[in-house]
Symmetry: C2
Subunit: 295 residues, 2 copies
Amino acid sequence: MTFKEELAKRSEEVQAVVYAYLPAEEGFQKTLLEAMNYSMTAGGKRLRPLLMQETYRLFGGNGKVVEPFMAAIEMIHTHSLVHDDLPAMDNDEYRRGKKTTHVVYGEAMAILAGDGLLNYAYETACRAFALEPGNPHIGEAMTVLTTKTGVYGMLGGQAVDVQSVGGTLSREKLDFIYRLKTSALIECSMMTGAILAGASEEEIRTIGQVASDVGLAFQIQDDILDVTSTSQELGKPTGSDERNHKTTYVTVEGLDKAKADVAAVSERAVCTLARLPQKNEFLKELIGALVTRRN
Amino acid sequence: MTFKEELAKRSEEVQAVVYAYLPAEEGFQKTLLEAMNYSMTAGGKRLRPLLMQETYRLFGGNGKVVEPFMAAIEMIHTHSLVHDDLPAMDNDEYRRGKKTTHVVYGEAMAILAGDGLLNYAYETACRAFALEPGNPHIGEAMTVLTTKTGVYGMLGGQAVDVQSVGGTLSREKLDFIYRLKTSALIECSMMTGAILAGASEEEIRTIGQVASDVGLAFQIQDDILDVTSTSQELGKPTGSDERNHKTTYVTVEGLDKAKADVAAVSERAVCTLARLPQKNEFLKELIGALVTRRN
């Protein structure tokens, strides 16, 4: 099987896990549940749960305890997209070629759907306690999940990003935003995978470094694609950073250096991964593929 | 010491616990943290953490493991107020006599501050894992905390409430909203207190019934005060339900029956509580006082 075929197969498996944890659309709060599922089923690469699963396997994990966490990380990611798209935030009407949640369900319901997804993520992750009672790693994984999502992780990065629109950014602040807004959830995915598999502290630290570089490379590649890709390839309008006068890695460093840095940072991630005695060839190829992607 | 003095003293202690868990206002994301703390320090009865602490004590709890959960439930409650007040929701400019978060910090930051509070609640609750490693009740308490907050609890009730504004409500739907929007967090407070103290399943079920009645009585009293109180007493405009054409317990049952029902439901809560062999005189008086309150 080629890597591409393998990726398609595993992504489908990951998506099935995520879908299995979506709430049933019933009861008086049916519209809220529909709005949540609308954004969850609107496509996406399922990259975070995929990275979590492969890291879990890298460290010898072979149970079901990782599955509620895989669903949770995708719900957290989707929560951030739903709220990011709101009129008071980025005011985006399309994502992945589909109308955004507030366009379909109205602003109030989109705010609640985003809240609902964030909360349901933790509700879902809590199912792990019943799957493996007494497993001490679950509390540790919950701690990393909440911390990397919150004000010292993704949400903190988003707040600084929102405040920075229209102004110019120092390289220091840009790095801060990238590290929190994008890398934190990638770190979260890989670290919780490692924790749940029972990896050592040293191994968790190493995989955190890998994830940090993967996140940075991923975000720079996003900036590059916003300049070089077509709207059709991306499923959303390109050139939005320029229109919004956003400081990005490309505006600070130029397109050529950005491309060279993506390659270097992703190479560093692969090298750090190779230092571990455990091997997962698919994970290695996945990291390489992320920075040559076209969408 | 009179009950009123005791209440003031214990509320102050509870507030100190909550404040101890607020994030430091520093770093690039300082404004976000300020916005979160602004709403957290804007007053309030701290009823939920107080009920949690007293229920924890009722079942013999005497550790610190309840404290991060006390802070968490107040953050969750405050999160719901910040998002409820948004222009796309209730569009309220004042709460407890102070300007609401979006009026002070703008809409985008208020959305993120609400998200930040919800997430920080769980981040804070996770600190319990480090306080008492291996305590199996913490995972159980986390499960109740997330479930009662989410789409089958508070957030589900809010969604139905938002969709019902301007229309007429069946008594069945009104009960659903009250049970989820208000009672769920009260149940959550008392049940997690009981769980963390190691109460039995039967005891947790009983305290859940008490809490459900306390929540219902609390909400009906809110409806009564909206009609009978002054704006100065309430710290927010009265008569808002009528202006918003909202179906409430008072519009459905009339003021006299609402008053009688508050008394009956709160009496039932006190009786159920009395069935337990454990006694907490302050908790009993607190439940009685909630339905004679003027704000």
